[in-house]
Amino acid sequence: MKRFLKLAVKPEWHEIEEARIEASKYLQSLGLMTDSVHALTMVISELIENGIKYGSFTVPEDTVEVDIHQNENIITVEVINPLDPTDDTAHNHLIKLDKTVQWIRGYQDPFEAYVEKLKEVSRRPLNDEESGLGLVRIAYEGKAILDFFVAEGGSLNVSAVSNFQGDTYGEN
């Protein structure tokens, strides 16, 4: 059985749906339950969305790289995008990413963090399009522990580790 899947996603929005379909097929092939496949596909989509939004794509070969690994009950999703730390948008994203990951870790139950974020976002002006729900949704619905690092070559690697022990591998 294939224990990992690698995808190179072009930084174009419509590519996300194709990546979702590929990732979903792979996760199903691992024997995961439908609900878990859905949760992980959401995790992958949200991370690719962020990769496309905040990545620095300077040459046509630049892509968002998606690695999905399985190790027994643990599924690790890594999404890597090129980064230009001198770019203000990318720099601000890194600061926000760090703050959000630390903030989520401050809650024992990610549901509480999710509810707090829902309350905060709901009070913002109607024309404020920023969601800010993606990462906390990954922690809550995807049951994932988030982490990230900036590699020496200048790429951002965001990982989400989900443990599906006891509630997967079988029929729904």
């Binding site: 749906e17 979702r20 969305e49 509810v115 829902l118 109607l126 399009e129 920023e130 729900l133």
Partner: protein, 128 residues
């Protein structure tokens, strides 16, 4: 007289059905746009306007929705928050049998009000 309008953008369809006592928005497909608010918010705003004028309850029916990204949740919760403080009545329906819908929408119970102005209802719709 009932009236049905269909709005479509990319993988998402929203059907707005106006009946005697309610205006129902049926969401079908996937909401995956980069800025889903651009499509969703004008339809929501128009529905709220109609609801204000006719005092009809708005039904947001998500049971046929297959997926939504987190940016889709934003306009929905902003409307629920404003409904709590305003005059419109909203019922949000979701499929409790689908775990993703149960997780996503049951969390929105924080916007529910005791006077049923805002209701969040999970329904058991088994998908074969």
């Amino acid at each position: 007289m009932g009236k049905i309008e269909l709005f479509e953008d990319n993988l998402l369809q929203i059907e707005v059905i106006e009946n005697k006592n309610s205006i129902t928005m049926v969401w079908t497909g996937k909401s995956t746009n980069r800025k889903p608010s651009e499509f969703i918010s004008p339809i929501l705003a128009d529905t709220i306007k109609k609801s204000n004028a006719t005092k009809k309850r708005i039904m947001l029916d998500f049971r046929k929705l297959d997926y939504m990204n987190s940016s889709t949740i934003t306009p929905i919760i902003k409307i629920l928050e404003r409904a709590k403080r305003g005059a419109i009545q909203i019922t949000l329906l979701y499929n409790r049998s689908l775990k993703w819908q149960d997780l996503s929408f049951s969390a929105l119970e924080i916007f529910q009000t005791k006077d049923s102005k805002v209701e969040i209802k999970g329904v058991d719709n088994h998908v074969s």
